[in-house]
Symmetry: D2
Subunit: 345 residues, 4 copies
């Protein structure tokens, strides 16, 4: 079987990373690309690195949809819903790397994104899916809401602790640090080389739109509503997210027991590495891959469990997980095309 | 008046930064340098940048002490106490950039540094001094314990909140990120270029030796014992520390009121800039200076006050603050030689 | 004496660096700033690093001129000529950090910049000045053409070799590498963090506009026309230029003799350091200063003299040299306000 | 067919990169690893990125040889010859990533490496091989001298120009810039993060050991002895080499004609991309791949052809080319396991 894939918003960073990974996927074929800014231009003119690998010319959205079995959309929020509707009508699958289908509560969506659903009728066909946590919900769905980068790192890191009840649901502090690809290809003073290089700062302190998405997953894990304090920071590196997460123990428990809970939870997950006790997650070790490294640390002085997770924001945090979701949707082994070895340097 | 200064441990990063700043100090003169590893070598051979600015040849410790009014020591812990004793005997002032005199409790020192005081008798002559917080305690002392880099950023950031009682003393989470100069000039795999560049990770999670030093200052602010959770991270930049600090509000209070408390606390402090509400501290803006920038953020959803502080770890976090302390010790205006403009890029 | 300084184009990188340096200049005072893009905004809103140091509000050009004894202009080419004319009429000195007055030949200017002089009459009042090489020409002039960054590094590096006749005038290859501040504050894909970080490339190969300016200085040194091959590259660092320059020896000569020629040429120049034989210039050692480091290397196998020069492109390559020229113009010691110690890291 | 591969010197950077690439090679299997410094330790303890991908324990050299069909050696010079002899005796193929077999002239080897051949008898079984240029010479050989990183970038860039006689053999200037992995995993002040970050400098000016190796290939291209001036520089990036090469035209020729010569020479080479006229090679576009990008530029003012080549020093400049040579040696398509898509960022 070969899945024909279309990418709408192909010239953004998530789109470009999808291309890179799909070119190495044995059962997928890039059928068409679409881009508003670069219509009629070959992708390799936007990204010269791809010359000879992907010289496909960007088309308009509809042409792209028609040629494909599944459409990946990497668009600003608000633009995916109508496109998803078109895909459903044409009998295509839809994987959204944007935010339109991530929040199950329309009220939350309105609060954080400032608008209601445009196509409320199709949300029943959609499911939010971090495969390691929610793959059971995918069956029968045609739209997958691919998780955000920070929410992926946070949910994989805290889910076992909350699910097992070893930590309190309050307070939870998530201090995340992301590489600059997270800010996208668009130009801004913040990501101007001379500004970011040798700089470092938090941004959108306690008001980032990934907050409710993280809370949605953690509430699911805890079985009750969870509120978090979330502060993202911008790192002067290209790729990767480290989330350092602080929770209070709900009972007396040894680090070793916590470690066992995590190991058991993820024992069959090829993309999650629970590091051995004493080791610490580093974004270096997961770059260019779909891996999530998790390290566990106990601050016995303050009864605090510290979980550190590391992902590549462009792979497990975007394009890689989207392909993992595509594999799931088409009945392929989840690892197909994603068995990537992280470079040592 | 010209203060004759000796630097013991001059070829480490803190020593080298002292040299740079003292060369621009109008009332200090570098009288002698000492280095174990580079004895008999001019400093400018170790740091070619200094050629023509400081070609002083490194001597042994005693020669260095004899030529100076005040000795700065930038040594591994355990080595400063006997040197301080020698200085006292010779009637010299002593400013320790190491850890030997930072903890008032010998029990804490033993717990975190694994040894007792070697010279307990001289600790009564020593005082721990972040000038903005503790300058009143310096009078009559001959030894100043210059604070660590992380403790400086944490104490300046949280002192007003704890002192005013607007936040709880528990939980307090301090998530700090430091540039690589904090790890020193010594070679290590962690600071090998290919390892750190494009990498990022926490280290010494919840077990860094600066923990009790931070707690000592915060307990002083709160008027009761404070325990913190402290996690440092290593940034792929040369200079600077950002500490992102999370505390729970003790009462209903507006961000504006908190902002006023901070502004009032630091209104006469030339080195502390409380940023206006809405702005966020960035280590970029304090590089090469003795400044500490502080920004305040309220997460109303979780009742959390988030304080972000930014310093240059080598200046306000080490050499600059040491000179500020020297100025204090010798009755000079604290800003003498430290009115440095941060480069915009 | 206090010189009242106005800066037109103050919010660009060269303008901002002028501000930083002038704030530390004991005999200059920033009287006014002007900016088209940020008129009516304080400079410290554009560069938060300057908060408390320079909160001057940007005005229009004429207001800026009126308040000043000397005007620094950091403008795109073509805009300085009319401003210089206004300054002359008002009896002000003018220092141009742009290209309008750099080329003595209007034909060259037309060839490389695509236009004729707009105000040919005032060019007789202008002089191109790298002080170490051309300070004798300044007397009686009111306009100084401050040299470009690459031309400064090239001319200081090759002048003694050409002037003394030890090298041929052909071929001369200049392979230069500049930090990203050279590309300015304006946003571009080339200086987007994710593009430049971990990237490296030449640009404007053999067609950069600094080519005729370099040739003008080298022809002056050689006493006959010189043509060069010049290729600039963009480095993933903020500051600094390394120029590696290749020339053929005209006669049998030892490296030591060449070294002596250079040492003699620059023996009284506080800003030029001719490194001792065996050492190699590194941009690290001149950052944040007005220094130019020069190292000399002989490839006896191919009879090639290799000269390496290092400057900070924003200081000796722009703002610092402009202030050096201001000092010259106002009869101050050239080093006034420029005795800056390079940081060791 | 599955080739059983042993790697001696597996824990150095070249060894580690071989592991990464071989794990993705469909017809090779890592049979054994050897390391002096880390004997009896799993590779994934040295490089935690490899955890779960390569946990093979390092053995001694002989054990490693015995288990393998082909041995890759990544050793300091002088250590490969005896190992190669052992391999030959045991009927194994040998691919040397070091320098012992690169120079055909023992006199050159002695001049640049300070010693004679230890095992002169086996040099007849060895061949130096950049496959695109020399693959015809491999037949019947058991030892392949895998080229150095700089020599690969230089030879691929200049071979067509010299072979076709369009440029003079003198002067030739090669100004190369390499990422820090080229300096290896060993700790040094030069590659200490704080020293290299925001720094840049040439090193081993006109005396780097790759000089005779480059000359050997270029002399082969020109059909007569070639001497070059070669200056390498160390870039603050992890991977990649840009070589900017300057040669004089031997006759009147248009850039388009030169471009055609290059396109024809490399038309069937999957790893060489001759960029279209007007584009410029950037190391960004070849990272993590076995590609060599070449751009061509004419300086008509000085009659100079400027060739810019870009490779990943660890792939085409080391491990990737070694695998390409292994493929050649075992009759596999050269691209097997090497069809890697460069990341766009």
């Amino acid at each position: 079987m070969t899945v024909k894939v279309g990418i709408v918003g192909a010239t953004g960073y998530a789109g470009a990373e999808l291309v890179r990974l799909l070119l190495q996927h044995p059962q997928a074929q890039i059928a068409a690309l679409s881009s508003k800014s670069f219509e009629n231009m070959p992708l390799s003119e936007v990204y010269p690195a791809y010359t000879g690998f992907c010289d496909i010319v960007c088309e308009n959205q509809s042409a792209c949809v028609d040629k494909s079995d599944v459409i990946f959309a990497a668009l600003p929020h608000g633009l995916s819903e109508p496109l998803a509707e078109e895909c459903l009508e044409k009998g295509k699958k839809f994987i959204d790397l944007g935010a339109d289908f991530r929040l199950e509560s329309e009220a939350d969506y309105k609060e954080w994104y400032g608008k209601n659903y445009d196509c409320p009728g199709i949300h029943q066909d959609a499911v939010y899916c971090i495969p390691e946590l929610f793959r059971g919900k995918v069956e029968g769905k045609s739209i997958i809401a691919n998780p955000g980068c920070y929410p992926t790192s946070a949910a994989l890191g805290l889910f076992p602790a909350l699910e097992s009840g070893i930590v309190e649901v309050d307070p939870i502090v998530i201090d995340s640090k992301s590489g600059a690809t997270g800010a996208g290809r668009g130009l801004s003073q913040t990501t101007h080389f001379c500004d970011l290089n040798e700089g470092f700062s938090p941004y959108k302190v306690a008001c980032h739109r990934h907050t409710p998405e993280i809370e949605q997953s953690l509430s699911c894990a805890a079985g009750k509503p969870v509120k978090i304090t979330f502060v993202p920071h911008l790192l002067p590196v290209n790729r990767g997210i480290i989330s350092t997460m602080y929770t209070r123990l709900a009972k007396k428990v040894l680090l070793q027991e916590i470690h066992e809970i995590y190991c058991e939870k993820y024992q069959n997950e090829p993309f999650v590495r629970v590091l051995k006790m004493g080791d610490t997650a580093n974004l270096k070790n997961v770059r260019m891959t779909n891996l999530c490294d998790i390290s566990l640390h106990l601050d016995a002085r303050t009864n605090t469990l510290i979980v550190v997770s590391a992902i590549d924001n462009m792979v497990k945090g975007a394009a890689g997980q989207a392909i993992q979701n595509m594999n799931l949707l088409f009945g392929l082994p989840e690892t197909t095309g994603l068995q990537l070895v992280p470079p040592a340097f």
